[in-house]
Each structure stands twice: as C-alpha cells, then as structure tokens.
C-alpha cells in the first residue's frame, strides 16, 4: 500500500549515525588536472573531455538531485545532511563514467585522479566524510594497485563497482580487485550504474524510464548470484558486499529460489558448502535509502530479507527521496535504527573508525 505520511529522521536522531551511501558531485576535467600525470594533463583538455557522466545517471537532471543540493560540495553535504542529522560519518560513493571507458589506461588515470580529488576536496575538508575508491574494472591489476596504494588511508573504506558493467562481477578476471580489497578490509559497494555494454534488462532495451528503474533490481540480483556462485563471497569473507540504492525486496524471491535450486545443482559449485541464504546473510549488505517496501508489512519484512544484520542505514543524498534528507524508511521498525546506523556499518566497513 502506498501512503503519503512523511517519513522523518526521528529514529536516527542522536545516534551519531553512519550514512553508508552519499554521493559527491562529479568532477570535471579542470578539477582533475592537478592530479593527472603530464600526459593526461595535456590530453584531457586536448580531447575536450569534460564531466564523465554515465548515460544512465544524468546527474544534471532534477529527479536525480534534491532541491538546494545542486553543488554537492563538502560544505553543502555538511550543511544539508551531516549537521542536521548529527551524523558521525558518511561514505561517499562516486558513480560516473570512469568505469565505462574502453581505454584501460585512461580509466586507470581518471580513477587515480578522481580518488586524489576526492581526498583533497572532501576527505581533507570534513573529518566526518569517508569515501569509496573508484577503480578501473577494465584493468583489474591496476585496480588492485590503486587499492593497495590506499591501504594506509583509512578514510577510504570501500571500492565502487557498477551493477551493470561489462561482465558479471564474480568472474575470476576481477579477483585481483577483491583480493586487494579483502587484504585491507575494503567493502565492495555496488551502485546501480550502467555502462550500456548490454541492455539494462535481461529481456532487451525497454521503452520507458519506469521499466529501467524497476529493473535495476534485476542487476542487483544478477550480481549477487554471480558473486555467490563464482565463490567470491566464500573466498573473500573479509570483503562485505554492499548493494547500494537498489532496495531490498528483490532479495526475497531470489534467496529462496537459490537455496532451492542449489540443492539440485550443487555438484557444479561444490565450494558452496552451505545453503546459499546463509552465505548471503553473512556477506551481503543492503542499503535502506531508498527503500522499496510498503510501510504496512514491517513485522515480517526483516525476516524475509534474511536478517537485520544485512541492512545499512543510508540517505542516498543528494538524490531526491520522500521526506527530509536521510529520513528513516517507514517500512522498517524504528528500534532497528542503532543496528542499521551504527553496529552494522562498523562491521561492514572494518576500516571505518568513528
């Protein structure tokens, strides 16, 4: 049932909450110039490269941005989100076109420059801010190097992946990234971006925005299955997998179905030694902003998701959702707020010191 009652930040007030999914503005080439090497410092302007915006994430359009949050600077995030909600930390995840580039060396250069820009513009500016590293999945060895370079900078707590990339995330070509991440306790934050190598639904290109938005959940489910089946979840237990901004209701049918189908297909993947929903419960985390369940189903909701340990408080700021920035989802019991906003994030992101 849809209802119009306005959600509030009530349940997280006074907790010193940790917001697990906040988005900085996208850097333009002028922002990145100080962090490029000599080649890219000339080449980026030479090729007229500006903001690397993902086709599916037109951040300049109003529906993607909360009113008054046009700048997305550190100061604006502080006044629009951190201060009013009394947050102790917020994790920035940048979703842009660096991971969609075909040139692996260009992707590497832009990722490195972007991470340095994030550190300088955001992490140095406000001690409450943390960030996820942007790394080139097009070049896994370089991605692993970038993660290891930041092993000592604990302000970086995660690695960003896109839900709709070139190939399923669990495949072995990506394992250098996960090995490096797990070594130093980085989480993998999977964001609902698309590089459009494939149609955004398994059935082909849809005609309307509502289809594409609704089917984001298919990508989350596909990546979850890939990371489970290929053994990433069991080989890298020190890297939690965060499915950000995709809601949680897609997990109900999927976890039940994989637990059932695994019984008949176990011989293909015998490294999965326990019923899959138990592995998901241990390794998979879902952010709750935005949340996609009706508010009148709360008594059973968390049970069918799996466990309250799987949920992470998030605002998805500055994207526009109902109520004030960081409002508590009305579908969730309010007494879960301390777990979702404090305990679970600290266990999901072991690098996060608050």
């Amino acid at each position: 049932m849809l209802d119009d009652a306005t959600p509030t930040i009530g349940p997280i007030a006074g907790l010193g909450a940790i917001d697990c999914d906040v988005h900085p503005r996208l850097p333009v080439t002028a922002d990145l110039l100080p962090y490029f090497d000599a080649y890219w410092r000339e080449q980026a302007p030479y090729r007229n490269i500006d903001r690397l915006e993902l086709t599916g994430h037109p951040v300049s359009l109003p529906p993607y941005r909360r009113e008054g949050a046009a700048n997305g600077t550190a100061a604006e995030i502080a006044s629009g989100l951190l201060d009013p909600n009394g947050l102790s930390a917020a994790i920035l995840t940048l979703v842009n076109g660096t991971q969609a580039l075909y040139d692996p060396y260009m992707a590497d250069a832009f990722c490195q420059a972007t991470n340095r820009w994030l550190a300088a513009e955001y992490l140095d500016a406000d001690p409450r801010l943390r960030a996820a590293l942007v790394v080139p999945f097009q070049h896994p060895e370089a991605a692993a190097e970038e993660i290891r370079r930041h092993a000592d900078d604990r302000r970086f707590v995660a690695v960003v992946a896109l839900a709709m990339g070139e190939r399923p995330l669990g495949q072995r070509a990506n394992w250098p990234i996960y090995r490096a991440a797990a070594e130093s306790g980085f989480a993998l934050s999977i964001q609902s971006g698309n590089v459009y190598r494939h149609a955004p639904t398994q059935a082909g290109f849809p005609s309307y925005l509502v289809e594409e938005r609704t089917h984001m959940a298919q990508a989350a489910a596909s990546q979850t299955m890939s990371l489970l089946s290929e053994g990433v979840m069991t080989e890298f237990p020190d890297m939690k997998i965060v499915m950000a901004g995709t809601g949680a209701t897609w997990i109900f049918g999927m976890s039940w179905r994989v637990a059932k189908d695994w019984r008949g297909a176990r011989v293909e993947t015998p490294w999965i030694r326990e019923s899959p929903e138990k592995i998901l419960e241990r390794q998979l985390r879902l952010t709750v902003g935005p949340f996609d369940a009706p508010s009148d189903m709360d008594p059973v909701l968390v049970d069918v998701i799996g466990s309250p340990d799987m949920l992470l408080y998030s605002s998805d700021y500055p994207h526009a959702h109902a109520g004030p920035a960081g409002a508590w989802p009305r579908a969730l019991p309010e007494d879960l707020a301390p777990a979702l906003a404090r305990t679970n994030p600290q266990e999901t992101y072991p690098r996060l010191e608050v």
Partner: protein, 137 residues
Amino acid sequence: MGRHVIARADEIAPGKSKRVEVEGRDIAVFNTGTGYRAVTNRCPHEGADLCRGIVARFVDAEGPGEFTVVEDKVMVRCPWHGWEFDLDTGRSYCDPNRVRVKSFEVAMEGPDGRVAGPYSVETFEVAAEGAMLVLTI
C-alpha cells in the same frame, strides 16, 4: 524384522539399480560397484523414483575450481530435481537435518544363510547371498 530374497546378485550390474517391493514398501536397490545399498524409492521432495537416479561419489571443493571426489561417500541424485542423498545414511547433503530418505541394509549372502553387516532399526540391509540378494526389513 524379516529377511527377504529380492534379486539374484548378478541381476544388478555395477552402477545399476533395481526397484523392489518388500512388505508393501517401494525400495530402490543399488549396486555401487563396491557393494549394495538400498533406500526408500520415493524422494522426500516430490516423490520421484530414486531407483532412476544417477549414483555418483560425493563431490566437494576446498575452493572455487578445486574439485575433489570423496571416494567412500556414495550419493544417489534424484532424477527430477537433482537432490542428492547419501546411500549409507539416507541423508540429504543440502538439508541433512530435515530431509532424508530411509536407508535399508542389503547383503550378499552365502548358501549357509549368514548375513554380512550389522542390523539396525534405522537401516535395512541388503546382502547377496551366493547368487541371491537378500533384503532385511
């Protein structure tokens, strides 16, 4: 508990199975190549005939791609949905505490009538007695 001659030992070739009915029960008897095993013929999931299932050693893996075969653990795979049951214990690997099939003892007996292997209230025994297979129920 009664003992029943159910087949000639050479009737079930290694790797093959036979469905028998003993005291009104439907039972699947397997020759695993190293011995005989018997379980309830009916899969507890949706009732498929387990006698039509493939028998194979249990597969395991230390990690992705690192396959191993557990030689002394023999499973029957249900022909419908692939659920595997341990032929020694009747237990499902995937849900060992809730799903199991009853296993029976099968023995191959000599003409003097001695039965190889222990009796159990939980399991049934099948033995080849000389040329005949004897199931104990």
